[in-house]
């Protein structure tokens, strides 16, 4: 595995998006992973429609009662991948633009631009997460976001994390270490793409420590493969 890796440098990541006041983080995480996988499969970077997922995806998690995708009221990335598998694919962002509100589904199958061929979950092992990132493209991950409300920059490495503030984001890379003056050492970190616009964090990105499953970042990691039509 390379010491540092960043899919942004390789053209696999679209610009930072903004979910607005809508609990649709899960859809941005899912489209981000599929945008990367589609880029790897076809060489084309397409910005995909989150609004299609917000409006049309009602897939439920078979493992947890009530964990159904529900637009601005929340959802899950794996449910979204399942929906994309079942529906056939996702339209372009510009063909089905984001509104930040729940709306009526107007999915047009003839305008599908990217499809899922398969998706899987990655084990808690951080080397496996890094290997899957490098091999398969950006990964959909869940994270406890309690420190993200006040985050401005640097590598976040809290001693403890909260509960019930879970968020869907996109893992796009990692770094070998950024010097943390307070700890007098370099800290390896994950690079996370968020969906709160560029005026949050480090131009829309979050860096979090790559040790000990900080804030649950290793707990729910999914990789997706794009179908080539």
């Amino acid at each position: 595995l390379p010491e540092d890796f960043d899919w942004r440098d390789k053209g696999a990541v679209t610009g930072v998006k903004d979910q607005g006041s809508c609990g649709s983080c899960w859809s941005f995480s899912a489209t981000g992973a599929l945008e990367g996988a589609h880029f790897l499969a076809t060489g084309n970077l397409e910005s995909l429609s989150e609004q299609q997922l917000v409006d049309c995806d009602n897939v439920c998690d078979p493992e947890e009662q009530g964990a159904c995708d529900a637009g601005c009221n929340g959802g899950l990335m794996n449910n979204a991948f399942q929906y994309i598998l079942q529906s056939g694919g996702v339209q372009r962002e510009k063909d089905y633009p984001y509104t930040g509100r729940d709306g009526k589904c107007h999915f047009d199958k003839s305008k599908i631009v990217a499809s899922v061929s398969n998706f899987s979950v990655v084990s808690l092992d951080e080397d496996q997460i890094a290997a899957n990132l490098v091999h398969n493209g950006p990964l959909a991950v869940a994270i406890n976001a309690v420190y993200m409300q006040t985050y401005i920059g640097g590598v976040s490495c809290p001693y403890i994390c909260g509960k019930h503030q879970d968020h869907g984001v996109l893992l796009v890379g990692y770094g070998a270490g950024e010097y943390a003056p307070i700890r007098l050492k370099k800290k390896p970190f994950w690079i996370i793409k968020n969906s709160w616009g560029e005026n949050w964090g480090e131009n829309g990105y979050y860096k979090i420590c790559r040790v000990r499953n900080i804030c649950g970042v290793d707990s729910m990691v999914s990789t997706v493969a794009a179908a080539i039509s």
Partner: protein
């Protein structure tokens, strides 16, 4: 905090909350419909300044401070900007990715 230094100003003053709130409103284009709402949001903002200070202590390698979410309570923040519908754990029934080689 250094115990040898005694705090002689109140917390709001030491946080310079009013100055930060004015700057926050300008930076993020925030306006509030009524004075009551404004005062409530200022109270939330002050609470978030204290939280940011606490986060900076608990997360010293990152920078914490005023963000565009500084006038939201943690509950409002969760409801409006998060949205993951499940506890953080590996889904047991999902297909597992094959183990990849990580050496060389």
């Amino acid at each position: 905090d250094d115990l040898l230094i005694r705090q002689v100003v109140d917390d709001d003053h030491s946080l310079n909350a009013e100055h930060h709130f004015t700057k926050f409103k300008t930076t993020f284009g925030k306006t509030y419909a009524t004075e009551e709402e404004h005062n409530y949001r200022f109270a939330v903002f002050k609470s978030n300044l204290r939280r940011a200070k606490k986060h900076a202590k608990l997360d010293p390698s990152a920078v914490h401070g005023v963000t565009k979410f500084s006038d939201l309570t943690p509950r409002e923040f969760r409801r409006q900007f998060l949205g993951l519908k499940r506890r953080l754990r590996l889904p047991a029934d999902a297909h597992k990715a094959p183990i990849l080689p990580t050496n060389n």
